[in-house]
Structure formats: C-alpha cells, structure tokens
Symmetry: C2
Subunit: 406 residues, 2 copies
C-alpha cells in the first residue's frame, strides 16, 4: 500500500508541472522508467558466483534470465552464500575473509566487513538473526548480527594453548547454535549463542583425523564429518540424550592402494535421499551408499571420476554427481531406485557446481572454463537455457533460506 | 535499479517546488510515505484467511506483524492457498468456487474467475505454469493458466455416464501432472497436462469406499487416500514401474463401536517424519503411527480429542495435533522419539489451523472464536506474539512455493 501511495505522489508531482523545474529535465531513459517498478517476489531468485571477477550475477529461475549483477565483492574463489529469512538478503563469504550482505532486489551491497584473512564459508542461524563465518586464518568462527554485520562473538578454535585450528563443515543447528569441525584438532564443536555475549561451547574430541568437511542431514539430526586423515567418517546423533561421536565406515578403502586426490570432495548438499545417504569416496571413482539408520555401507556405485559434489534432487529419486580434474567436464545421474547411472552429461568444461530448483524440475550447472551456466530439465535431460556468465562457480538459490544445515 | 530511479525522480520533483501545485497538498501521512518503498523479499511472507470477512491478512514471519489486507475474495470458509514460484503470487481457492490470484507485495487481486459452484482447494504444477482447482459442484477439476487464469482444461470426474464425483485430495506430481481422488466413485485419477489441450487421464479403480482426503509424501513418492466409507487407506507407489493401489491398515478400528465424527480430519500437512507417517484416526482419540516402508501400523498415540490436523515440524522431531469440537481449544505436541505427548497448549477457542515457519522455530496457530493468531516457539512453547485477526482459519506461508504435494 505504501508503494502504491508513493506512486500516486509521483504521478501527482508530474501532473502539476514539475517540468517547470530549474533543474535539467531527466534524460529520456529516466522519463521512461516507471515511477515505481512493480515489486517482484524473491522466491525464484538466486545468484551465480563469478569467481574471477568478484561479482554475483542475480538470476531468475522462472524466466531463466540474468537480472543484474552485484560487483566489488573481492576474492570469490570458493565463495559461498547463505540467505536471510526474506529470501532477498544474501550473505557472501569470500575466500579473502570478507563477509558481504547483498540484496537481490536492489543489486546493492548493504554491508561489508573484512572479518578474517582466509575464510571457507558460513551459516545463518535458524531464526535468521546471526551469521557465522568459518575461518582458516585465524582459525575459528566469528558470529555477526545479520542486520548490521556487527561482530557479536569471536570464538577462536584454540584446541591447545596458542594453537588455532582451521574450521570446516559449519552448519546451523536449532536455537542459535552452530556446529563445526576443527581440521587440525580432530574435534567437533557446538557453539550456543542463546546468550550472544557469552557463547557456550560443547566440544567433541577424538572424532577422527582431519575432518575436512561435513553435512547435516536434512532433518538436522545427524552431523557427519568426512575424514581426510583416515578411512572413515564421524557421526553425531544430535537428538540423543547425550550426543557422542561414533566412527562409521572405518576402513572402507582398506586393502586398496590410495589414489591421488585431485580435489577435495564436498559433503554438503542434499546427498540424503530417503533413509540412504550418498557420499563421495575420497580419491576413488565411487559413490558410497550408506543406510542412515544403521550407518553401514549398503552399496557402491562406480562413477566416471573422483566425485566432488554428490547431490540429491529434492525428491531423492535422482542423485547428481560432478567430478575432479581430469573428469570435470562430465556430470552423471544416478537413479536411486536401481542405483544405476541413467545419464552422463557433458554440459561444458570444468563443472564446478550444481543447484536444483526448489521442486526439482531443473538443475543449474556451472561450467567455469566455458563461461556458461546450463539449465537442464531433470526428467528429459534437455537443456532449457544456457546463460553466459564469466567463470561461474557456486550457484545459490533463495530457497536455501528455508533449509537447515546450509 | 528502476525502483531507485523512480525514487530519484520523485525526490527531484519534491525539490523543485511541487508545493506550488494547484492541487490540495497531500495529508501529512501521505507526505511521510516514502516515494518508493524499499523493495522487500517475499521469503518470510504469508497470509491468514479471515473466513467470515472474505479477506486475507498479509503477514511477515520475521517481524511477526500484519502488513496489510487483501479484501473482496468471497466465501473463504474452508479456503486454501497455493503459491507461485516467485513466492509473492498466491492463488486462493474459495468455497464458493472462485479462484483469485493475489499479490502479497502489492496487496492487490490481479485476476479472479468464478470457476465452479463449490470448490474445496487446489494445487499448482511443479513448474508453476498451471493451477488446478478441485470441485464438488460440478464434480471434477479445472486447470488454469497461472499467469492469466484463462481456462486450460476442464476435466469432469465422470465415473459413470452422467455421474460426476466430488473431487478431493488434489496434489501436484512432477511434470505438469495432478493426482486426485473421486469421493463418490472410489477412484483415484492422474491428469497429465503435458499437452494442455489434450489432457491424458490415468484412472485407478476400486481404491476403497469414499476417499475423503489424501496426502502426498514429502518426496512425492506415495499418495495415500483416507477412506471414510471403510476402515483403512489406499496407497499408490508412484515410482513403481506400474503404479497400483494397495489397501493398507484395513480394519484398524474393527471391533470397536464407531464414534460419531465431528469434523473430517485432514491428511495433508507434513505428517511424515523420517520413515514414519502420523495419521489422524477417524472418529477416535488417536493418532496412528505407520511405517512408510512396510505400510503397517507400528503404534498409536492417545490424544485429547478427534484429531483434525496432524502436522510434523519441518525437522520431523515433533508432531502437532489439533482437534474437532468439543476439544478444539487444545493443541498437543508429540515427541516423535518417545511417541509421548510432551505439551498440551490452549492457544484460544476453536483452533482451525497450524503452520510452521520454514525452518521450524515457530508455529502460527489460528483460534477462530478468539479472533487471534498465536505465534509459538516450538522449543520453549512460549508465545512470541499474538495477532488480532478476524475469525482466522487457514494460514499459508510463501515457503509452500518450494514444496511438492500442496
């Protein structure tokens, strides 16, 4: 209603002779501009990271078009994005330690803070009031007010006197809590920010060597940390009366010569479909199928390379996989009922990321070295659109605002 | 950017002396109105149905405030709402057979069609292009272009020559398909609108007597129809190579005198938590717990009345239940791990509906006869806000745009 009133006022002003202004008349292009552009919803918006240019391209998943860009965001190699509750506010975690708050409707940066020297992503609290960054240098997390980006809490990952660990696998838990893994310490910590001034830390020790990434199951119940330093994973049942770390899938690669690892796989993404989790095996051309009730391996699926992202379509009927160099031109689709590869796609050189539309009818895939993002129908595998975007990496849709564990 | 330009123009107009206008000056309240209100995201918006007034109140789940109202929508008793992909466009299905397309940002009705004599809700296709209404009178579904509300297909539920069934349990399936139940025929139909001009209908017969409502599991795999005319439910595995109806939970109330039914329970809502489904028993003070892998009953939970809505919190850790008259002042919370009632709330007279925020930190509850909507934290059960709304019934948040089966 306010917007409508604003337009009325402007129309009125135009009617009553503002052309008699001593100011120069606005150029034609401005006159053509509607007084107040019709407001648009943010439900079908998203951003694509241009890693080389330090920009975001704002896109619409209904029209499959670029709406504009948000520039000047610094080093966006390995950048990640989380969304505020409104679906229009996005928080961008740059590799250079900058945290930027941007708006997908105005295409502006509303706040920006240089919060560390080297960061690897972040999370937003369940109520949207706190944003947390996970840092390599200095190792730890920092928590910010989501409105202003004012620092609320600085929590170094000091696991021994003077020793700070790099932090990975950060995810939100219910009630202003964050969970994360300490790569150098082999620990998992939960920071409770209910009283932001005095965060309460719960520490899980001896979770396994070098947790390198983690995922929270879609229901927020299980936190699973991948281990780089040993064969296996660590899992915590966060709903247990007394949560503790259990080692699972120990020795799943034992007896085979380890392969060189070309790129660390990512665990997050919705690699949980029904009661089964699909996980990338480190260094192997395999996806592991794990029963989330017993936490035992129930199958392996041979794939075209070392998996990087293993992501379930929102309905869990398909799992899409991309790969490390040299197989990173390909994407494979696993049918979860038959556990067979049903499609191999080559959407362009250097596939870095895939993002499903909220109801799963399409997937957006970035091909960095071909400077394009492809929109592909998940039923027919037809390419519905190709967008020219400079060295695209991560793709993040506003529907992430509604999900836990991102 | 366009919006910003509009604001600039108005500011300019204000600067150059529009006060010299022969028109009366706008009242102070209007002057205070910003030229172009800053655009807002639609991710945390929703509507509450005022059933008596035929209006929607537009609300924000972050500020927990009413933003405005959309009036003149006709008979909204038993009204339901689905959302377009943008999260700002909502489609309102009135009991009087009217279908209205409204915008939560402008608070305006953009299109409206009187599509039947008596309607009981609707659905929107996966790609957001088609809206379908399920009708009692005349029995059948009608499918509309989501942009214009132009009629795309009229599909009478003619199950025998000249006999039309009332339609219930309508839900979207992937690929421009809709599934629904024929109450009078005991059938389930799937309409495929891939070629909108010539819809293809698949019919399942002998699904059980009087299917009265249905739910699609969150992954879209199983469609479960409740039966009013017999003890049991019908289920279809839509992922099977050849889907067919299986009768489940036959005779679950056998041996006990049937109770009078004060209000038909609703099956839809996210009553599936993990591998278990929680279903209202008709006429009994019980919630049934059903294993969705074996489709057998694994438990019953005694509750305070005849359940109407049985809805899982998004993470599935809690299930919230409201009741038919005379127990409709109460709401009970089931902990899904212990299967115990952990809380009984009395948020006001005549609780008609409950809606969770997308990440589950709060639930909004309408109390019709106390003319209020309560916002309750799901961890502490504290009331965070109370909104005065006239005879509120259904509550629908824009995050529904992202879900299948609504």
């Amino acid at each position: 209603m306010k917007q409508a009133l604003g337009c009325t006022l402007l129309a009125l002003a135009a009617l009553v002779g503002c052309a008699s202004s001593p100011q120069p008349a606005p150029p034609a292009a401005m006159i053509d501009t509607p007084a107040c552009a019709a407001p648009i919803g943010s439900g079908d918006l998203g951003v694509v990271v241009e890693r080389a240019k330090g920009s975001l391209q704002v896109i619409n998943t209904t029209s499959r078009q670029i709406l504009g860009s948000i520039d000047g965001l610094g080093d966006l190699s390995h950048a990640s994005v989380v969304y505020g509750r409104d679906g229009a506010t996005a928080y961008v975690f740059g590799r250079d330690g900058a945290l930027s708050k941007v708006n997908l409707l105005t295409h502006k940066t509303d706040a920006r803070v240089q919060q560390s020297g080297n960061s690897i992503g972040g999370a937003i609290s369940q109520d949207g009031s706190l944003v947390a960054a996970q840092n390599y240098q200095p190792g730890g997390i920092k928590v910010f007010d989501a409105k202003t980006l004012a620092l609320v809490a600085d929590i170094p990952a000091e696991y021994a006197p003077g020793k700070l660990s790099r932090v990975v696998g950060l995810a939100d838990l219910p009630g202003k809590r964050f969970i994360y893994s300490l790569f150098d310490a082999g620990e998992i910590w939960i920071a409770d920010l209910s009283s932001p001034g005095s965060p309460k830390i719960t520490k899980f020790k001896d979770v396994g060597r070098q947790p390198y990434d983690a995922l929270l199951t879609p229901n927020g119940r299980h936190y699973i940390a991948g281990l780089f330093g040993e064969d296996g994973l660590g899992v915590i049942d966060l709903w247990a009366a007394e949560p503790k770390v259990t080692r699972i899938l120990g020795g799943y690669g034992r007896g085979q010569a380890p392969l060189p690892v070309f790129k660390m796989p990512h665990l997050r993404g919705w690699a949980v479909a029904g009661r089964l989790a699909y996980l990338p095996a480190i260094g192997r051309h395999e996806v592991l199928v794990v029963d989330t009730e017993s936490w035992t391996e129930v199958g392996r699926i041979k794939v075209a390379g070392q998996p990087v992202f293993v992501i379930a379509r929102p309905d869990g009927r398909q799992v899409w996989v991309n790969f490390a160099v040299p197989d990173y031109n390909r994407v494979q689709v696993i049918d979860t009922q038959s556990r067979q590869i049903v499609k191999t796609l080559e959407p362009g050189k250097a596939v870095l990321h895939m993002e499903f539309t909220p109801r799963g009818e399409a997937v957006w895939i970035s091909s960095r070295d071909d400077n394009r993002v492809s929109v592909i129908a998940t039923d027919s595998f037809e390419t519905q659109a190709v967008l020219s975007i400079d060295a695209p990496s991560g793709i993040f849709f506003s529907s992430r605002a509604n999900r836990m564990g991102f």
